[in-house]
Symmetry: C2
Subunit: 338 residues, 2 copies
DNA sequence: CTGTTAGCGCATTCAT
DNA sequence: ATGAATGCGCTAACAG
C-alpha cells in the first residue's frame, strides 16, 4: 500500500553489509564496528527505511507494545493519566495501544481480547469495570498494571491516590466551615468485590464526621451511579428524607454537576442555601456556577508511575510504587454555615 | 508469554487436513467440503486457537485494521462518532486502532506515523488540527476519511453535518424570541486554510441576521479558541465594547460554559439578563444552570457513515455520502426579549 | 476441492 | 565482529 517497500535487505545492500549487521545496529544489540554502523544508519536515513513491525514481532515474539484500556478520555483526570503513561513510556522502546472501554464491561472485556490477539507485552487498565478476579487472572499471564483503582489482591501493581484521606480532608473542610449536616452522594459500583475508590470516599466522609463528634446519618447518604443524572436524582431523594442538610459531598464531579441542577430545580441556591463539593476536578468543575470545590489527583504522575511499574514488571522486577494523594481545590461552592 | 501457542498447524493436525485448508476456512475464501470445514472449526474451538495477527499481516500484506485519530473522547459528540465507527466496522473484517490527538498537531502527526508503521489499511480522522494539504497528501497514499470537519478539497471523503444551516436555525430561534442584538463567540482555528465548521457557524449566524433585516455588528463578534476559558474572556471583551446585547451564541458548548461563568462573574443572569446558546450538545450542556440551548449533531450515524465510506474506499469504490444536519435542542437558557 | 511449497521481513542462533 | 542459515505463523500461488 505504501511506497515501494524498502526492507532491511535494501539497506544491507546499500551499506555493504549483511542483513544481520543491519538488524544488529537497529536493535542496538551486540557491538558493530563504528564505520559499518554509520553506513547502516546513513542508508536507513537515505532510504527512509521503516521497519515492518509485523515481521519484527513475528520473529521476536514480542510486540513491543503495551495495551492501555481506559474509560473516559476527555476528563482531565484520565487525560492526565494517559499523558503520564505516554511520557513514562517515551524513554523505553515500548509504544502504547489504546482502547476505550466506554464504561462498558463487555466492551472492556473485548478490548482485553483484542489486545491479547495483538500480543501486547503488557496491559494497563485505567479505571474500569472488570472484576478483580478477572484482572488477577489476566495479571497471571501478562504483566498488568491498574491505575486509578484500588484492588486488595493486586496491591503491588495498583496505582491510586489515597481517596480515603482526600475525602476525609474534604469533609473536614466542610465541618470547619461550620457545617454539621453534611449529605453524601455515593455510588455502587459493578466491581464491588473489593474496596473501591468511591467506597473509600464514603469511608473518609464517615470517619471525618465521627472524628468531629458527629454521627453519620444514613438518611443523608444516598446512592447514585456516578453519572450526572443520578446527581439530580439524589437531590430529590435527599429532599424526600426531610432531614435537613447544609452541605453535600458528591463522590464525583459528574454527580455534583447533576446535584447542582437538582438544587436549581428546587430553587435552592449554591452556596447560599446549600454548599456543594465534588471529587475529581473535572474540566467543567471550574466552570460551574459557582465554581466547584473538589479534589484533584496527581494524574500525570500516576500515569508515569504506571508506565514505570509496567516496565519493571516486564523486566521481571517487582515494581516499587509511590504513594499519591489528592489535593483540595477550594472554589466558591462552599459557604460558612451559621 | 501466553499459554503454549497453538498454531494453524496444530489444528490442521487435529482436524486431519492441511494447513492451507485450515487457512481457507478461517479466511472464508474458496470452498471447502462441509465435513472438513466443521472438523476445522471444531478443532479451532477445542484448542481455543487464536490466529497470530503478525503472521497474518506479514503474509497477506494487509493489517486488517483501520486507524482512528480522534481528539477528545469523553464528549458525547465524539463518543457518538466513535461508537458509530465501531458499529459500522463490526460487520466487516476490519478492526479499529485508536489514537488520541489531544488537540495537539504534533501528537496527531505522530499518530499518523505510528499508524503508518502499523500498516493500517485506512485512516479516519475525527476532527483534528492537521492541515488540509497534509490530509490530502495522506489520502493520496492511503484510504482516508475525515469526520466532523469540512474540507474543500476532499469533499468525497468528508463526513460532516451542515453547520451553516444549524447555526442559521439557531440564530433564527433567537431572533424569533425577540432578540435583536445577538453576540457571537467564534474561534480561529489552526487549520484555517479551508472553511471550517466554526466558520460555517459564523456564516450561518450572519446570514440569519441579514435575512431578518438585521446587520451583523462586528463589535458583537468576538473570538475565542474553543476552550472554556476563552468563553469567559469573551464576555469581558463584549462588555468592553459597550455595545448592548441580549443574547449570545457561542460557537461551541465549551465556550458557552465559559461565557456562563463570565456572565455570572459580572452579575448577569441567564436567561433573565442575557440568553445564551451553544453548539454540540456536550454532556455538561444539559446540566448547566440553566440548561443550555444548543445543537446536536447525529454523531452516531456520522460515525457509521464514516466506516461505510472507509470500507468503500478500501474496496476501490467512490463512497456515496449522505447529508447530515444538526438538531436544535431547546432548553432553558433562552428567554423572550421585550 | 485440497495438499505442497514458497515466501512475507526480520531476529537470531551458529559458524567463522 | 559479522555473514549465512533457520524459522516465526500464516497466506497465496501452484499443482494435483
Amino acid at each position: 500500500m505504501a511506497q515501494r517497500k524498502i526492507t532491511i535487505e535494501d539497506i544491507a545492500q546499500k551499506a555493504n553489509v549483511s542483513i544481520s549487521t543491519v538488524s544488529r545496529v537497529l536493535r542496538k544489540s551486540s557491538g558493530v564496528r563504528a564505520s559499518k554502523r554509520e553506513a547502516v544508519l546513513q542508508a536507513v536515513a537515505d532510504l527512509d527505511y521503516r521497519p515492518n513491525v509485523f515481521a519484527q514481532s513475528l520473529a521476536s515474539g514480542q510486540s513491543m507494545t503495551i495495551g492501555v484500556i481506559t474509560q473516559n478520555f476527555g476528563s482531565p483526570f484520565y487525560d492526565g493519566i494517559l499523558a503520564g503513561i505516554l511520557q513514562g513510556l517515551e524513554s523505553s522502546d515500548y509504544s502504547a495501544l489504546f482502547a476505550d472501554g466506554r464504561w462498558d464491561r463487555v466492551i472492556e472485556q473485548r478490548a482485553v481480547e483484542t489486545f491479547t490477539d495483538r500480543r501486547v507485552d503488557g496491559l494497563i487498565f485505567v479505571g474500569g469495570q472488570l472484576s478483580e478476579s478477572f484482572l488477577a487472572e489476566v495479571g497471571q499471564r501478562i504483566p498488568t498494571v491498574v491505575v486509578a483503582r484500588e484492588l486488595a489482591s493486586m496491591n503491588s501493581n495498583c496505582i491510586f491516590a489515597d481517596n480515603f484521606k482526600a475525602a476525609y480532608e474534604l469533609t473536614n473542610y466542610l465541618i470547619e466551615a461550620g457545617h454539621r449536616n453534611i449529605a453524601h452522594i455515593t455510588a455502587k459500583m459493578h466491581y464491588q468485590e473489593a474496596v473501591t475508590d468511591v467506597e473509600q470516599r464514603l469511608r473518609g466522609y464517615k470517619q471525618a464526621l465521627v472524628d468531629a463528634g458527629l454521627s453519620p446519618d444514613p438518611r443523608l447518604i444516598v446512592e447514585g451511579n456516578l453519572q450526572q443524572q443520578s446527581g439530580a436524582l439524589a437531590i430529590e431523594m435527599l429532599l424526600m428524607e426531610k432531614q435537613p442538610f447544609s452541605a453535600i459531598f458528591a463522590a464525583n464531579d459528574a454527580m455534583a454537576l447533576g446535584a447542582r441542577l437538582g438544587l436549581y430545580r428546587r430553587g435552592l441556591r449554591v452556596p447560599d442555601d446549600v454548599s456543594l463539593v465534588g471529587f475529581d476536578d473535572e474540566a467543567s468543575a471550574a466552570y460551574m456556577v459557582p465554581p466547584l470545590t473538589t479534589v484533584r489527583q496527581p494524574s500525570v504522575q500516576m500515569g508515569q508511575e504506571a508506565a514505570q511499574a509496567m516496565l519493571s514488571l516486564i523486566n521481571g522486577e517487582l515494581p516499587e510504587l509511590a504513594q499519591f494523594h489528592g489535593e483540595l481545590i477550594i472554589r466558591e461552592s462552599v459557604a460558612r454555615q451559621r
